[in-house]
């Protein structure tokens, strides 16, 4: 791995919520095009970890760099950096007062100063890609959960990010809608997008992951390619976790 390919580097990252130590000595490096899947028990710090990468959360020690730019309180153009890091939330967080199309065009128009026509053409392209072009004029509340999450993915993609962060994108969906979202994510992975996904969808993880990460109590306990991770986990805690999650 050469330096030019490295996109995100976290080294010695620590974070506290008051007295509570959520992230402990996190070291992680993500290459361009790499697909990382993060799993671990509830409260282990998975969300906090990926939210530090676009600085929705601030870390107190260690360093996080994105394409060589250090992310800390001195970072000047944090808003600009965030446009290169897409994020998809468990609760979708679509803008309820805007149509799906306007959700997608808001960023390009207000941040990138694109013309409305260009922004709409781009939005339709991505809505097509997530297979909901016919929902463009509806409001988020009129869509099913799966459609809403795909709209949220399209909204992120409209900023043409270099990496996509997913925080349990299917956890609040009804079972029959999980697949339609995972299909979109697999498609995205195959297109070469750099992705960091917090998810417990192990089928998805086996299909797309280059690197599996298991977190527990704020630490990265195990990290490695999926074959070894699933078939011969080194840590007892990983084994236990996998046996619990795969038995479901």
């Amino acid at each position: 791995m050469t330096d030019s390919e490295t996109m995100i580097v976290m080294s010695g990252v620590n974070k506290w919520y008051d007295d509570f130590h959520v992230l402990k000595d996190i070291n992680l490096s993500v290459r361009q095009g790499e697909r990382v899947v993060v799993c671990g028990p509830s409260g282990s710090g998975k969300s906090t970890l990926i939210r530090c990468i676009n600085r929705l959360e601030e870390h107190q020690a260690g360093s996080i760099t994105f394409k060589g730019i250090e992310l800390d309180e001195d970072t000047k153009n944090i808003a600009e950096i965030r446009t290169e890091i897409g994020m998809v939330f468990q609760q979708f967080n679509l803008f309820p007062h805007l149509s799906v199309l306007d959700n997608c065009t808001l960023g390009p128009i207000k941040v990138r100063n694109a013309s409305r026509a260009d922004a709409e053409a781009l939005a339709m392209e991505y809505l097509e890609r997530v297979q909901i072009p016919d929902q463009a004029d509806k409001y988020p509340s009129q869509l099913s959960g799966g459609q809403q999450q795909r709209a949220a993915i399209a909204r992120s993609l409209c900023m043409k990010p270099e990496v996509m962060l997913f925080d349990e994108p299917t956890s609040s969906l009804d079972p029959e809608m999980i697949k339609e979202v995972l299909d979109v994510m697999v498609d995205l992975a195959e297109s070469g997008m750099t992705m960091i996904c917090v998810t417990h969808e192990m089928g998805f993880a086996r299909t797309v992951a280059d690197t599996m990460i298991f977190m527990d109590e704020g630490r990265i306990v195990e990290e490695g390619p999926p074959e070894g991770f699933f078939n011969a986990p080194k840590s007892e805690r990983t084994k236990l976790f996998l046996s619990q999650i795969l038995s479901h």
Partner: protein, 271 residues
């Protein structure tokens, strides 16, 4: 255990509609009668016929508005400008209070505490006797508008803060992740969701402005109450004038509430 069967609900006669109407009519009648008796007792001379000329007169085929209409216009003007300024002051205060800036939070807190904990009449006096000469305002109406705006701005800021806070945190985060600055997130995401929630309580402020503008008669602003007092000074028709001016305020405030209710339903329907 046997649950007693609920008895078929009978509408009690004292809860029926006709009784309601009868009650209302009786009450109104009583009030009118008492007033009339009281007035008769003090040998009050009713002169309703003299009142219309203080609304309008037609002289040589030309329509001239009377003092009551002028007063009403000034009251509306005060309320309208007061509302605009109160909204601006309220929004700035709310955003300062929600900001990370220490200075901003101090300034807004000091403003809120001072206005909330002193009598409005004292504030009006300070604005009129102290600030008006210092700021070189040459028309007391603007002193009055400014004073009322700062007073009502405290309520506006509270309503706006609540409205802004009721937009879920995820909306801020979604805005950040597509690269919107804090200001742009406010403009395009937070406020459009918060404003429909703020509208009904903000009507209350407009209504308050209309009511509280009466206090400006204290600093010689020629709004409705001042005109009414002057008229009584000239004509001694105190009963007639107050019986007319009271309902004028009522009509103004009630039609305002109705208008906002209608606007609110339209905004809701659009979503």
């Amino acid at each position: 255990m046997a649950v007693p069967r609920p008895r078929a609900r009978r509408v009690r006669w004292w809860k029926s509609k006709p009784f309601d109407v009868a009650q209302f009519t009786l009450l109104t009648g009583l009030v009118v009668w008492l007033t009339w008796r009281g007035a008769a007792g003090m040998e009050y001379r009713w002169q309703w016929h003299r009142l219309p000329q203080y609304f309008y007169e037609i002289i040589d085929g030309e329509l001239l508005w009377g003092p009551l209409v002028y007063g009403l216009m000034v009251t509306i003007e005060i309320a309208a400008w007061g509302m605009v300024l109160a909204l601006i002051i309220g929004l700035i205060t709310a955003i300062l209070r929600l900001s990370d800036s220490f200075a901003g939070r101090i300034v807004s807190t000091v403003y809120l505490e001072i206005i909330r904990n002193t009598p409005l009449l004292v504030q009006v006096s300070i604005f009129y006797f102290v600030l008006q000469p210092i700021l070189g305002i040459n028309n007391p109406i603007w002193t009055g508008i400014l004073c009322l705006a700062f007073f009502e701005g405290t309520f506006a800021s509270e309503i706006m803060r609540a409205g802004i806070n009721s937009v879920p945190r995820g909306q801020w985060e979604a805005g950040s992740t597509i690269g919107l600055s804090r200001t742009k997130t406010y403009i395009y995401i937070i406020l459009p969701q918060a404003i429909p929630l703020m509208l009904p309580p903000l009507t209350g402020i407009m209504v308050n402005l209309i009511k509280h503008s009466a206090i400006l008669s204290f600093i010689a602003v020629f709004e409705l109450t001042t005109e009414a007092r002057n008229l009584i000074g000239d004509t001694f028709m105190s009963f007639e004038v107050w019986f007319v001016v009271g309902p004028m305020y009522l009509i103004l405030t009630i039609s305002l509430s109705t208008l906002v209710g209608w606007m609110e339903r339209r905004v809701r329907a659009r979503q």
